[in-house]
Symmetry: C2
Subunit: 359 residues, 2 copies
């Protein structure tokens, strides 16, 4: 049987659950590779994917006999079929953080079984990446490094943030990525002081600071990186803040290894910012995988150990409200003894030399 | 008070609800104009938007005193504050089709009140557009017409579907739209036979048929249009199917007016397709507004009358599996006596004259 489903089945058993209804399409893709509308039933005897006529053929193409997943077209299922799926099951899990209240009631009526919350059991499983998943994230990070290299030559004085953001999207889509992983942030000058700035019509000027936060998807898996670009020269006011942020980022990365408590690392990072006169406006990082933000959430409220083969971001930021902000972010892989940076763009200040942009 | 909230309050009263928790951000934007994370409480005495520190300032900027909406930063609210919001309320509505089961349970604990399903009450309210909303949709349709005009000159033999789709997105983003309303469909040759084709690497050839389904957003409101493009000439095999589809589209549009039953119109359209040897693979259309697909759903299962100032699509399609498909789609406004087409691109077959595309 598909090893991810086998693992899930073992987990369900320890929670006294005899089955599970998986509804979140990201979790279904994770467990089975299937990208189609439908739900996955883990029953006592079988694994069943219920979908509709549009998808039956394509789903059967990607499954192998080893997956042991039966595909059912819902138009062939009767009320009794539904009521029979979880026969002899006392408790069946569902995804309480994904399923709407209306769907929950519908599941109760359809499957006639006792539904139990599963507390993100699959999201927990997803935190530890297997080899193939790491390869896909590596590839997404590699394309992101290339995109940054491209931007260094592309950005010109007079361009708007929007134009640069658009070019990032175009680069990704024409250089092997499936898609962007999130709307890129291009925040220049004082806009960089807002952690979640939206690219606007501000034009790049000589001496500007530009924050670029971007990532793409490769075979569904995401990358995430933030770097700062300085136009023609780096103004003195940015230098101290940059070195505070960089040192913080590097210290945090140095602390990462299998078994180390996440809260401790995040607390150390926050304390360091505080000692330097800054407040942490957001958490230190987050897991990256099929979702751009996923478990584990890397902050002071996540009192859990890091584990080998987790992939997460390290992204401390220093922000001077209304003036400018600096953030340096990598996607990293947790290893037995430390970590491996998957985004490999150098972290020294990037100063580009460019002239006016004439349309 | 804000007239949309006033209307909602009247509706709640008729359902014996003394308040409502609005969680769906699209519904919050519809009722208040607010675009920020948070929830809107309609309580006995007040309207309250609960958000966090990041948004308090920007939300207060867009609200006027006439809105009568109090903005609360959640960090200033105690458990007792939450429990007090719906004091003296017997039943309070919530959005069962949006709220997850986990959130539902959290609401129960936080607000300590009896929660009742509201059966898409706000989505129903959103079906009838007011003047300002119609203007925004008109503008989104106008940009879409311009985009089609642009494409007629842009498409060249040798381009891929993806390249054309990308250019549609770029046109929208640089010609006054906020964004695309959905990923554009560009389906050429046999790809056009799949109603939900994804633009791929197939290159445009002489004599090709190209299905283009696209729309943008203007101030949050969507447009939606499908047209066919024929490259250099229209092959005979397409002519009959095109005229069947066009006649079906025009007949359906002719039937539209305030009070007319939607199921009847959709049934007539399906019957006409059947008489011509085709099967309706999808419904005749859907409402368009802040969401690209919203109520009313215009098909044979929607046994409801059209109402003045609804905005919906009319999009019959004829599909020859594995060969080609033709769909003609407008966004239209329902009027007292008929309808007004908001997408105004002509519906005769569009034949473009173009040569090879040299990079």
């Amino acid at each position: 049987m598909n090893i991810k489903i086998k693992w899930l089945r073992d987990q369900l058993k320890t929670q006294n659950l005899q089955g599970m209804i998986v509804s979140n399409p990201v979790n279904i893709k994770y467990l089975t590779g299937i990208e189609a509308e439908g739900i996955l039933l883990i029953t006592l005897k079988e694994n069943i994917f219920i979908t509709d006529g549009r998808y039956v053929e394509s789903v059967n193409t990607i499954l192998t006999i080893d997956d042991e997943i039966l595909v059912n077209d819902k138009k062939n299922l009767s009320k009794d079929d539904y009521a029979g799926f979880f026969m002899f099951c006392e408790n069946v899990g569902f995804e309480e953080n994904f399923v709407t209240y209306a769907n929950y009631k519908e599941y109760l009526q359809t499957f006639r079984v006792n539904l139990m919350e599963t507390e993100n059991i699959i999201e927990g499983q997803r935190t530890i990446k297997e080899e193939k998943e790491i390869k896909y994230i590596q590839k997404a990070c590699e394309i992101t490094d290339k995109c940054f290299e491209f931007l260094k030559g592309f950005i010109k004085i007079g361009m708007t943030e929007k134009e640069i953001a658009f070019e990032i999207e175009k680069f990704y889509k024409t250089n092997g990525a499936d898609d962007i992983a999130f709307d890129p942030i291009v925040a220049s000058g004082h806009n960089s002081s807002m952690p979640h700035a939206v690219p606007g019509v501000r034009r790049i000027k000589d001496g500007d600071i530009i924050l670029i936060d971007m990532g793409c998807k490769y075979k569904g898996y995401c990358s995430d990186m933030t770097r700062m670009i300085f136009v023609n020269h780096m103004e003195d006011e940015y230098k101290e803040a940059y070195s505070i942020c960089l040192r913080n980022n590097e210290n945090a990365e140095r602390e990462i290894r299998d078994g180390k408590n996440m809260k401790t690392i995040a607390q150390n990072s926050n304390n360091d910012l505080k000692e330097n006169g800054y407040v942490a406006l957001h958490s230190l990082g987050h897991g990256v995988g099929l979702d751009i933000h996923e478990e584990p959430f890397f902050g002071i409220i996540y009192d859990q150990p890091l584990k080998e083969n987790m992939v997460l971001t390290v992204e401390p930021g220093v922000y001077n409200a209304g003036q400018f902000g600096i953030r340096i972010e990598d996607t990293v892989l947790v290893t037995k003894m430390g970590m491996e940076r998957l985004t490999k763009t150098p972290k020294d200040p990037t100063i580009i030399h460019c002239n006016d942009f004439k349309k």
